[in-house]
């Protein structure tokens, strides 16, 4: 059980790292949204899944509900994160920020 938890945690961390590195490395605002939107979401899914699993160590009703709450948070993140990303992207489009295309300078 602990092993699974640790595995998921580490996976989550890897995703998070990817997200952070991606945000730094990608050339423009639109492409930066990809790691920010996806990797972070996935990272939190994995990590929170792991934590909720760990929380079930001592199985009680209370702990189970707590784990459920963590899952609820995940669900919430899954619903809100793409929406937020979409909001940002939409804002960028309306603000008139042209997407980076191959061959442009980084910005």
């Amino acid at each position: 059980m602990d092993f699974v938890v640790i595995f998921f945690l580490v996976c989550g961390l890897v995703f998070f790292t990817g997200g952070a590195v991606g945000i730094l490395r990608f050339p423009d605002f639109y492409s930066r949204l990809h790691p920010a939107g996806k990797l972070d979401t996935m990272g939190s899914l994995l990590m929170m899944g792991a934590l909720s699993l760990y929380n079930l160590h001592h199985f009680t009703l209370g702990n189970m509900l707590t784990s459920l709450k963590i899952i609820l948070i995940v669900a919430f993140v899954f619903l809100s994160s793409p929406t937020a990303i979409h909001g940002i992207v939409d804002a960028g489009m309306r603000a008139g920020l042209g997407p980076w295309t191959k061959g442009d300078r980084r910005r």
């Binding site: 919430f76 619903l79 809100s80 929406t83 979409h86 909001g87 939409d90 309306r94």
Partner: protein
């Protein structure tokens, strides 16, 4: 200015750092702050108020009077924002935009002219009109009830877990703000009009102060909830718990309404026609 600022900052900072030398080490369990007054709160709160969350117990009972004024501060901020910003739309030079719902045509009505007579077909729109984004709108629509329920949960469970009237109230207010942002200000105003909101503001604080005054009226000191026991049909300790709960509800209502009020005023610059 910058140099003066720097000088002042260095002087003040120096004074403050100088003073830290006589502080007890950070997080030292035997420091006076941890041994003089607070142990009683921790050790007696369940006994005396039946509230496990000591912060809530202290907030709403031992130092409930502070919290009443804290809520009043928020209330005052709401009133001040209203007083400062609110302008009746008729007053300013105004250019109203109306959109014909069927054709999507936009007509512009300068100040002084009458609005279209059959308003069913025309819809007031914002000056910077953007079509409401489908995704944001839909997702927010779905999320808002859950946010609200969560907010109510936070208010209700302030006794047992972190949270309470203030936090819940803010989240509740935020849910309405989300509505105003994802749809538009007018649709949030339809749900919670300016007047209702203002009345709720005052009502929330009135609940708080009224609870206190009720204790006074029943012959005990102000905010001494123990005397309310006959009212709740329980023992004085539980009465304290319930009193705290009533107070938290008041705080929640007031904070919610005020947050909405400040948002409405700030984001529409007092015109209440279009928000963020």
């Amino acid at each position: 200015m910058k140099a003066a600022g720097l000088l002042i900052v260095i002087l003040t900072g120096g004074l403050l750092i100088y003073a830290t030398a006589d502080f007890p080490p950070w997080a030292y369990p035997q420091s006076p702050a941890s041994t003089h007054v607070s142990p009683r709160y921790i050790e007696k709160s369940i006994e005396e108020t039946a509230v496990p969350n000591v912060v809530t117990a202290v907030l709403a009972d031992y130092r409930g009077y502070d919290t009443m004024f804290e809520t009043t501060v928020i209330f005052a901020a709401g009133v001040a924002c209203f007083l400062l910003l609110r302008i009746r739309v008729e007053e300013g030079p105004e250019e109203q935009l109306f959109r014909h719902s069927l054709t999507g045509m936009t007509i512009r009505i300068k100040d002084g002219r009458k609005a279209p007579s059959d308003l069913e077909e025309f819809e007031r729109i914002d000056a910077h009109w953007v079509p409401q984004d489908l995704i944001i709108k839909t997702v927010c629509r779905i999320l808002i009830p859950f946010i609200q329920l969560f907010a109510l949960y936070v208010i209700a469970f302030g006794h047992h877990s972190p949270g309470g009237g203030f936090q819940g109230g803010v989240i509740l207010g935020a849910s309405v703000i989300v509505l105003a942002m994802s749809h538009d200000l007018r649709s949030s105003l339809q749900r919670m009009g300016e007047k209702v909101n203002a009345l709720l503001c005052a009502a929330g604080v009135l609940i708080y102060a009224g609870t206190g005054a009720l204790c006074l009226a029943m012959g005990e000191n102000f905010l001494d909830y123990g005397i309310l026991a006959p009212l709740f049909r329980c023992d004085p300790v539980m009465a304290r718990s319930n009193g705290i709960f009533m107070v938290e509800i008041g705080v929640g209502i007031a904070v919610m309404a005020t947050m909405i009020r400040i948002y409405n005023n700030v984001s529409s610059a007092g015109r209440y026609d279009e928000g963020l």
